[in-house]
């Protein structure tokens, strides 16, 4: 959350743990914030990695959820993340003066930066998501999109280049619409569990 809030705690296990009246462990399974330092260039790399992760997450979840409308929503969101990746590569070229294709950028720049990270399966395990619950899967999608929004807003704020800042804010705005779309979808589907 940042923004001057100093005593913020994430409740491990969320409301499910409360229903059981027991703690479910001490792992940090909840909300995370991007580090606040770092250059716009780093943010572009981080953002690209996050977009890759988001796309992977949506495609992986698309094959697991049963509701057709949820599959369609995840497919649409996965498609938009590719457009974000393209824009981020263009932005990286503009910032650094080094041109890459999307594949090169992913393989040579982003993937090395992701070494030691978690696989999507590990990531899902960390969040203890019940993959049989579309509501939980959608909730995690919301949380990841919120992290993406946070990343782009912070990076835009730090950037002293007007165009970089503008592009990052545009992508942030689109992540904001993803959050709205996911939120509205959860509210519209009366029988989601």
């Amino acid at each position: 959350m940042g923004k001057g809030f100093s005593k913020v705690f994430n409740l491990t296990g969320g409301i499910k743990a409360w229903k059981k009246e027991v703690a479910v462990g001490s792992e940090d399974t909840g909300l995370y914030l991007f580090r606040s330092e770092g250059s716009p260039e780093e943010a572009v790399i981080t953002g690209f990695g996050l977009e890759m992760g988001l796309r992977d997450f949506y495609l992986s979840m698309q094959s697991r959820v049963s509701r057709e409308s949820t599959k369609a929503l995840f497919g649409k969101l996965a498609g938009i993340e590719i457009l974000h990746q393209e824009r981020l590569v263009e932005l990286y070229t503009e910032i650094t003066g080094t041109a890459h294709t999307m594949t090169e950028f992913a393989e040579k720049i982003v993937e090395p930066a992701m070494e030691g990270g978690l696989s999507t399966e590990d990531f899902l395990g960390l969040y203890k998501v019940d993959l049989n619950s579309e509501l939980e899967v959608l909730g995690l999608a919301l949380a990841i999109e919120a992290q993406a929004l946070d990343l782009y807003l912070r990076a835009a704020e730090r950037s002293d280049n007007g165009n970089t800042s503008k592009v990052l804010l545009q992508i942030a705005e689109e992540e904001r619409t993803h959050i709205a779309r996911l939120s509205n979808y959860i509210d519209d589907q009366q029988d989601l569990t």
Binding site: G13, F34, L118, A180
Partner: protein
Amino acid sequence: MKWKQFFTPISSINWEEAHQLVAQTSEQDVILLDVRQPKEYTRGHLPGAKLIPLGDLENRLAELEKDQPIVIY
């Protein structure tokens, strides 16, 4: 594809610790913040929890006191 651990975790507390936090301060001094959707809140929420859906949080931060402990779920 890897998810890099480039996130800085905020402090996590379990339910026992949350109960202690509420007991140690006055109940009104700890904000229980529910960031789920209204429908989920309606189905069940912590007594006294304030609902601000995640998508609205950025625009509604002014509703929260910066120096009060906030427990998010």
